[in-house]
């Protein structure tokens, strides 16, 4: 068909479409309506979640007169009158920070190895293995934690202490398990970020006399950093929200993850503690409507929602700073 012919057919089709019934137009319109409805449903659901949880959470302060400072600073939890969350906040903070501090360098190292150093034929299977790791359901991690990590922690800590003091449950076991869960998240995203750095950047560095390591450290990694940070933040989000696997090994006791006292080794890890998510999990089935416990649990949920929203915002920021993708 010549260009003129196409144009003719085109305007004929447009003429046919205007006013009169047209199948194409019907499809177009119904698709638009369909996608608009989908988008509206998503937004409405999100709003509903925030409003619902938020309003329930609000009652903690209006109806039960529990102050935010009380939640944050008190250590006393009995699920009836006292709702100090300090131990759980500390547990969550410890879990997130230590997990990410341990797994981030490891993951980035692994990503560098897979993306930059390993010979080509190894790269694909290694990446596949990491992705497989990523897909393991958290309940499996929990079971492995129970069967492998708890006894391991028990043996190591008791032999270090020289006495039978520890049952193996608690924050340490949780950190070990969640570290393994966060590792593939940061690794896969870092691999993608490193791969996205164009070959020209490496060549530019090598041509200035940089060694391969100097090139990775000074040119490739800085160029990949925003992408790597996106992975780290997603790791934080995962560590923060992880519940099931942690529930298997954390021990579920309302006490500080560790205590400090004067006798060596000064830091004594508690046999069992709780993080915010597991506190929710363990208490919700007993909470009845219209009790302070009920509202406090909603307050915790709302805080988790807000923190993860902040994390998403931070990861969006890093994503927007990515130069290469």
């Amino acid at each position: 068909m010549s260009k003129a012919q196409i144009q003719q057919a085109d305007s004929a089709a447009r003429l046919a479409g205007s006013g009169k019934f047209s199948l194409k137009k019907l499809f177009d319109d119904s698709a638009t309506i369909y996608f608009t409805i989908c988008a509206l449903i998503v937004i409405a659901t999100l709003l509903l979640v925030y409003v619902n949880i938020g309003s329930q959470a609000y009652q903690t302060f209006t109806q039960w007169h529990i102050s935010l400072t009380n939640l944050f600073t008190s250590n006393n939890w009995d699920a009836v009158n006292n709702f100090g969350l300090k131990a759980n906040f500390s547990g969550t903070l410890m879990l997130v920070i230590l997990t990410v501090f341990i797994s981030a360098p490891f993951s980035v190292g692994m990503a560098i190895f897979i993306a930059e150093i390993a010979p080509n034929w190894i790269q694909a299977p290694m990446r596949g293995a990491v992705e497989l790791f990523l897909g393991i359901p958290s309940v499996i991690f929990g079971l492995l934690g129970l069967i492998v990590v708890v006894p391991f922690v028990r043996n190591v800590m008791n032999s270090l202490a020289g006495a039978y003091l520890y049952n193996g449950y608690g924050i340490i076991a949780a950190i070990i398990i969640v570290t393994f869960m966060v590792l593939p998240t940061i690794t896969t995203i870092s691999i993608d970020a490193i791969r996205a750095v164009p070959r020209e950047i490496r060549e530019g560095s090598l041509a200035l006399g940089a060694t391969r390591w100097q090139t990775i450290r000074n040119a490739v990694l800085p160029a990949a950093l925003p992408g790597v940070m996106t992975g780290v933040i997603l790791g934080v989000t995962r560590a923060l929200g992880e519940t099931v696997a942690v529930a298997f090994v954390i021990g579920g006791a309302e006490q500080f993850p560790f205590t400090v006292n004067a006798t060596a080794p000064f830091i004594h890890f508690s046999n069992g503690s709780d993080v915010l998510t597991t506190l929710l999990l363990f208490n919700f089935k007993e909470a009845t409507n219209n009790t302070p416990l009920y509202s406090v649990l909603y307050t915790i949920s709302f805080m988790l929602l807000i923190i993860s929203a902040i994390m998403i915002a931070i990861s969006r920021y890093f994503a927007s700073r990515r130069v290469y993708r």
Binding site: E203, S205, A207, L208, G209, N218, A219, V323
Partner: protein, 295 residues
């Protein structure tokens, strides 16, 4: 002029398509006449680099065929020839950037200040600092303008902060970029225009005080005005540096270079002073290429 070589550009020797097969025969007839004999008008200037029977293979692909080429000191030597004839490969062999491509094999010598760069015990890091390289597409690091130029110095180590700042300024001046960027040294280099980025890459190479600049079609991604700026810069740089420039553009070769080497399917067909090569080609194929009658 050079557009007429497009049929050649599109048929690398290895293709065995119907059209390609005809092309193959043509080129091989051209080459068998004297594949490795270069029509040479040797330079009178002292030499900075000399390759001797340099052969380069990518796997089984014989990309550079027994090339012996002099490169005179503090002159601009242009490398021209149709696409895929080995210009970039030859250039990369000089500062051993070919080392990073797996499955390359090299025989023969590249004498740089009379020392073979492929000899045992050569420090590749130092070599690459002495032979700076500028690439076809500007490739600044995603860092500030200052950090880009300071990169090589920081890699080398042992420079104080003020020394680095001095060298950054000198290099940016040397690359005719200082006036345009002196007030925004801490801004990202990626915000510069293509031409500025390319001059930044030249400044980056100058910062480590090279003796030779290897430029692979440094202006091919730039607009005509940016191209002229680069060419002016090359004129300036010739006072201090030995320059080897790959160019696709024949006028550019005549504008910037004193010597020209003409490559065809991996062989150096002709070498000599640019004016002689262009006006009195010793080889029919050079003449055809220059007249745009190639292929």
């Amino acid at each position: 002029m050079s557009q007429q070589n497009s049929s050649l550009n599109n048929s690398p020797l290895t293709t065995v398509s119907k059209d390609g097969a005809i092309k193959r025969v043509n080129e091989e007839r051209l080459l068998t006449s004297a594949e490795t004999v270069t029509k040479m008008r040797a330079p009178t200037a002292p030499l900075k680099i000399q390759t001797n029977t340099l052969n380069i293979y990518y796997g089984a692909n014989h990309a550079i065929k027994s090339v012996s080429m002099p490169i005179p000191e503090k002159q601009v030597t242009a490398l021209m020839g149709p696409s895929g004839c080995g210009k970039s490969t030859f250039l990369k062999s000089l500062n051993r950037m070919l080392d990073i491509i797996p499955d390359t094999h090299i025989s023969g010598e590249v004498l740089f200040d009379n020392k073979n760069v492929y000899a045992h015990g050569i420090d590749v890091v130092e070599l690459r600092q002495r032979l700076g390289m500028v690439f076809q597409r500007p490739n600044p690091f995603p860092k500030s303008i200052f950090e880009n130029v300071a990169y090589g110095l920081k890699i080398m180590g042992g420079f104080s902060r003020s020394e680095i700042a001095d060298r950054v300024e000198t290099s940016l001046r040397g690359a005719a970029l200082w006036d345009e960027v002196q007030n925004r040294l801490n801004q990202s280099a990626l915000g510069l225009s293509g031409g500025q980025q390319q001059r930044l890459c030249i400044a980056r190479a100058l910062a480590v005080a090279p003796e030779v600049l290897l430029m692979d079609e440094p202006a091919s991604a730039l607009d005509p005005i940016a191209t002229l700026k680069i060419e002016d810069l090359i004129h300036e740089l010739r006072q201090q540096y030995t320059i080897v420039i790959v160019t696709h553009n024949l006028q550019q070769a005549t504008r910037v270079s004193q010597y020209t080497g003409f490559f065809l399917t991996g062989a150096l067909i002709e070498f000599g002073p640019t004016a002689d090569v262009f006006e009195h080609s010793l080889d029919e194929r050079t003449y055809d290429f220059i007249m745009g009658r190639f292929g």
